[in-house]
Symmetry: C2
Subunit: 306 residues, 2 copies
């Protein structure tokens, strides 16, 4: 059937990158040789740490695929987070842990579960198909689960994620707490990023009903370090709001050690954040205590209040 | 978490009914006791044959579930084919073999594959989870796969369906060809149905782009027998078109022995059938040679030409 391009979402995080690599390994082991692991954007610092740790190459950077080509989507299904011409390619499979936002004109393989990380589902797929998980694959999976669940502390964490981390740590011969903290800290290093890059690092376009928004999340071990950039961040956020005709730009600065997020909210619907969380924005910012998960603690609450 | 209601699509066929029963068995075997196998409509003759063969009760007839209740969808995901308040209940899982037409505000378990029958996926789920398939469950699964694939002759048939039929026949100790023909023939018995019931037996609301349509499929061993009802069918079809403000009502009368369909097409977009299949409608009807699958041979072709 020709080449199959495998990729995660734009602004790829560790789950999107490693899932692309692992899914390609899975497909090859299932007999589909002609698969290409790809990515739709720059590797972040956290993922770089993983790739360096293993000494492996990043997936191939692509911007799009030609109409009619075969693709497999991992870690996303929302067309807004994918290639522009998603409606013109042939989606063979989706493996994902997000809400359903895809409409197709044809049946396809779709595997989603409400777990903390795509890699947890891929781990199950290896098990179900009795495939061996080697040390490298185990490390990739483990890294993504640690990343997405903030070391199993995020409210998105499920029993399945915990089981996967336990078994994968053993295969990889890694102490997840030690490795995990290093990994998460690597992800908080913003030194090589411009203000604009920070604002696109993990930016997702989300409509809270009629409220056209971007929610961007930046992990840190020290909120005050990031808040030093506040004025520059706000200037560029306002530009993005104008350029993309947004109602809201939410920047979540998430403290991975203490599990809180400082939010900076701009745009004409910024007050929605106050309503949703019962907080008062002062100079466009507020602390959202205990909020670390965009999926569980931002999207449903903001949608409900919009 | 309280009761979980499991059901297939409205105008349930053998796959929707048996998948509801089998999914409930699967969930119980996985430790979820509080599941209720349900159906959203009348049992058809074919399904009745299966239930009588096994001496088991039909799933519970329901019209809706209360807002906030937990549900599992089998054999469908399109809200148009489900309960009215699908957007207000909590969908725990979907197991289906149709195109994706569902949008959710939350992640969930979603398992779809482009195979001929939902039961083929359920068969895999038992295997993957190392659960035993007893004789009764095997017969339910086998019946649905025979029904949906017209004894493995429909173009929707995949290698997975064939493997499932082979193994399930052995467990059930059934000759699939002998049992299958009896089953399919039972489904062609229209004697107890009114004209209105025939026109709702397997009617699916489908939009071919802007063309608002119903496509209904009736299986028969003798097309001319059904065509005796043509005038009465057309009268009621025209009423349905007016009542539901449709652009097209397509009635496919499918010859399960010779694998052809006679189509009766009414409504202001009836000519779309001529364009899509290169046929001439005479007295609103034409023979579509080799067409037996609504999913593979109607939906994509009609959509492309709309």
């Amino acid at each position: 059937m020709g080449k199959v391009y495998i990729f995660g979402h734009r602004n790829p995080d560790t789950d999107s990158i490693t899932s692309s690599l692992v899914m390609a390994d899975f497909e090859r082991k299932m007999g589909n040789e002609d698969v290409i692991s790809c990515r739709l954007g720059k590797i972040n610092k956290e993922t770089e740490y993983v790739l360096n740790y293993l000494g492996i190459e990043a997936p191939k950077l692509i911007e799009s695929v030609k109409d009619g080509e075969n693709v497999i989507l991992v870690d996303h299904n929302n067309p807004k987070e994918s290639i522009e011409n998603l409606d013109k390619v042939n989606i063979l499979k989706v493996v994902d842990h997000h809400k359903i936002a895809l409409e197709t004109a044809y049946p396809l393989y779709y595997r989603a579960e409400a777990v903390g990380c795509t890699e947890t589902i891929l781990y199950k797929l290896y098990k179900e198909n009795k495939l061996e998980i080697d040390k490298k694959i185990a490390t990739l999976m483990l890294s993504a689960i640690i990343s997405d669940t903030l070391l199993l502390k995020s409210p998105t964490t499920t029993e399945c994620d915990k089981i996967a981390v336990k078994e994968l740590s053993e295969i990889a011969n890694i102490d997840p707490d030690v490795y995990g903290l290093e990994l998460l800290k690597a992800g908080t290093d913003l030194t090589s990023f411009s203000i604009d890059e920070i604002l696109h690092l993990d930016a997702k376009k989300i409509d809270f009903k009629q409220v056209k928004s971007i929610v961007n999340q930046v992990n840190t071990a020290d909120i005050s370090e990031v808040m030093k950039l506040k004025l520059d961040l706000e200037t560029r956020m306002n530009e993005i709001i104008n350029e993309e005709n947004l109602d809201l730009y939410m920047l979540l600065i998430t403290d991975i050690v203490n599990s809180n997020s400082q939010v900076i909210a701009l745009g004409k619907s910024a007050k929605l954040v106050e309503k949703a969380y019962g907080v008062k924005l002062e100079n466009n910012t507020a602390l959202l205590k205990g909020v670390v998960s965009r999926k569980k603690q931002v999207v449903p609450i903001m949608t409900e209040n919009a």
